[in-house]
């Protein structure tokens, strides 16, 4: 190949290699800044990823929504869950649609996948939030901390998610209403 061609193609490649990470960052920063905040109850468990490090796997509750009558959902199907807040302050799914809902103020709907459907008329959803990355020694301690808390009857681990236009970004993981990083730091003292 001739040098000018190599230079041109190389320039395009470099821009792509930068543009894709940058767009990934930008989309999430925008969601964190302008998205509506929702609280989800969760149970953190500590696994490991060779590339991305340790995280707590979030097993979310509230993955259940009444199916619209006459709508048959398939496993793995992409759906939009319409979100609202229940009386305890946590996120609640009020309905599930196949098409992107555009008449909801604040964009309070979230893209999810169908985990399964049941005879009880509910659709069970897989949320797109499944990992919360933590510093390597912190992740196992976070899990231990959660289990200490959950034995005392009330489960008070929650994840706060910013939702914008169907897209969700995790803002933080909270235990007892405080950020898990802060709780762990205090415990370490």
């Amino acid at each position: 190949m001739k040098k000018p061609i190599i230079a041109g193609v190389f320039a395009v490649l470099i821009m792509l290699q930068i543009a894709i990470p940058v767009s990934m960052i930008a989309k999430r920063e925008v969601t964190l800044k302008y998205g509506a905040a929702f609280k989800f109850k969760t149970a953190p468990v500590d696994p490991y990823d060779a590339f991305r490090g340790r995280y707590v796997a979030l097993s979310m509750e509230q993955g259940k929504a009444p199916a619209l009558p006459g709508l048959v959902m398939q496993y793995g199907e992409k759906v939009y869950a319409v979100l609202s807040v229940d009386e305890t302050g946590f996120a609640k799914v009020t309905g599930v649609t196949r098409t992107k809902p555009d008449d909801i103020p604040g964009g309070a709907f979230l893209e999810a996948r169908v985990a399964y459907t049941k005879e009880d008329g509910y659709v069970y959803l897989d949320w797109p939030m499944d990992r919360y990355y933590m510093e390597e020694s912190a992740a196992p301690r976070a899990e231990a901390l959660y289990w200490q808390h959950s034995t005392s009857k009330q489960r008070d681990a929650q994840v706060v998610v910013r939702v914008l236009d169907g897209f969700a970004v995790i803002e933080g993981l909270y235990i007892d209403g405080r950020r898990i990083e802060a709780v762990l730091k205090e415990k370490a003292k």
Binding site: I6, R52, P128, D130
Partner: protein, 435 residues
């Protein structure tokens, strides 16, 4: 002709001319016949290898450092940090391409480093923003962003990473062939680089490694993209694939001097043996399925990819065996016969399992003994040893096979043992007669 032998001949020539065994003219015509032999520059190879390994280790080290997860940095700092090594690696790669375009070591190592940093950047963003686990998307984005480096930098490590990457990607969809079938167009994207590398003479190890990786990639691709709508098709497909590889690798290429420069032949021969050995057991025939599960609904078109694969590979293997029948190269024909045996097994394996098993046991027994004999005849310890290895594997497998009764096994063992002793005696007598 083996390079080492030619080099040896060239060393001998002056002495032979000096002693009057050869005339100068015939020495010159010998040199003209074999042509110039380029000695492999071992030092430059070591330099390239060290450069690649070094940049691999540094790149992986950077990924690990970031995986620690530095909580004390703010989110924007971490976002910036995830791009920093990428930009540095890009700058390095650019400098190499435009300032040091002749250094293979620099090109390969900087391309390797940049490839890893693309992955590192994507991974770190995933970590910073708690991006949901979507391994296939992560792998595919990464791979597509590094593949052009194989072409722009004429570097093969990104191509190797790409082949492994798309194989891993297809593996994520092994139960959903409607996705994994995209493995083939993705693999096609790297083929021009592979062909280019075959045309390069100065760096034969490159094409060897690439061919090896391609062979492994194609094997896993076939496995992941089969639709599994046709039970037992794997019997014919894998047998034919191994045979096709075996014959592809047997083609003559310029500059090939050792068997290790024939990765397709190696992978193919290994595959042929594994398949024929597997077929001596009863489990493949019990039910002709092989964990055949798919999320695709059974319908007519589901079997189409399997039929196409089986048809192409089977026909291909027959066509490639034919020239060796004409040349009476029986060692190769024996290996090329596997797809026919496999088709027979597929057809009758369900109904008369015992017969098919017996045939495959005799087939492996025959091939291994033939190899041992051929190796002794040609004084080639390699062939003898592979024959011995195949035979030992077969013997061990049958000895521990619980499905045969002891009397039968005992009699067969004694018969084979007597056969061995007889051949031994025959070989000894032949040698004695020759001496």
């Amino acid at each position: 002709m083996n390079k080492k032998m030619v080099l040896w001949l060239y060393q001998e020539l002056p002495a032979l001319v000096g002693k009057g065994v050869l005339t100068q003219a015939s020495s010159d015509s010998l040199r003209a016949h074999y042509g110039e032999v380029k000695a492999v520059d071992r030092r430059s190879f070591v330099v390239i290898l060290c450069a690649i390994i070094g940049s691999l280790l540094i790149g992986l080290g950077i990924i690990l450092l970031f995986a620690h997860n530095w909580e004390q940095f703010s989110r924007p700092t971490r976002a910036g940090l995830s791009l920093l090594p990428l930009v540095m690696a890009q700058a390095l790669a650019l400098w190499v391409v435009f300032k040091k375009p002749d250094s293979l070591a620099l090109k390969e190592s900087s391309a390797t480093f940049l490839s890893l940093m693309v992955g590192s950047s994507l991974a770190l963003i995933g970590q910073t923003y708690n991006i949901p686990n979507d391994t296939p998307a992560f792998i595919l984005t990464w791979m597509l962003l590094i593949l052009p480096l194989a072409y722009l930098m004429e570097a093969s490590i990104p191509a190797v990473m790409y082949v492994f990457g798309i194989s891993a990607w297809a593996g994520q969809f092994w139960r959903d062939p409607s996705w994994s079938i995209l493995f083939w167009p993705l693999l096609a994207l790297v083929v021009p680089h592979f062909i280019w590398s075959l045309k390069q003479e100065k760096y034969a190890i490159r094409s060897t490694i690439l061919a090896f990786v391609m062979a492994i990639g194609i094997c896993s691709g076939v496995g992941f993209t089969r639709c599994r709508g046709w039970e037992g098709s794997w019997v014919v497909i894998y047998s034919s694939l191994a045979t096709v590889f075996y014959f592809l690798g047997s083609w003559e290429f310029h500059g090939i001097s050792t068997n290790w420069q024939r990765p397709f032949a190696r992978v193919g021969a290994f595959g042929v043996f594994v398949m024929m050995f597997l077929f001596t057991f009863d489990s493949p025939w019990h039910s002709l399925s092989f964990h055949d599960v798919t999320t695709l609904k059974p319908s007519a078109w589901v079997v189409v990819p399997d039929v196409v694969l089986a048809g192409l590979l089977f026909t291909g293997s027959l066509l490639m065996t034919y020239p060796y029948i004409q040349r009476r190269d029986w060692v190769r024909v024996q290996w090329g016969a596997l797809p026919l045996f496999a088709l027979f097994g597929y057809t009758f394996g369900g109904s008369s399992e015992g017969l098919v098993m017996l045939i495959f046991n005799l087939y492996v027994l025959f091939i291994s003994i033939y190899r041992i004999m051929a190796g002794i005849k040609a004084n080639d310890l390699g062939i003898t040893n592979t024959g011995m290895f195949m035979l030992s594997a077969l013997v061990l497998a049958r000895f521990f096979d619980s499905n045969l009764d002891f009397i039968f096994k005992g009699l067969v063992f004694i018969a084979v043992g007597i056969g061995f002793l007889l051949t031994n005696i025959m070989v000894m007598r032949k040698k004695g007669g020759a001496a």
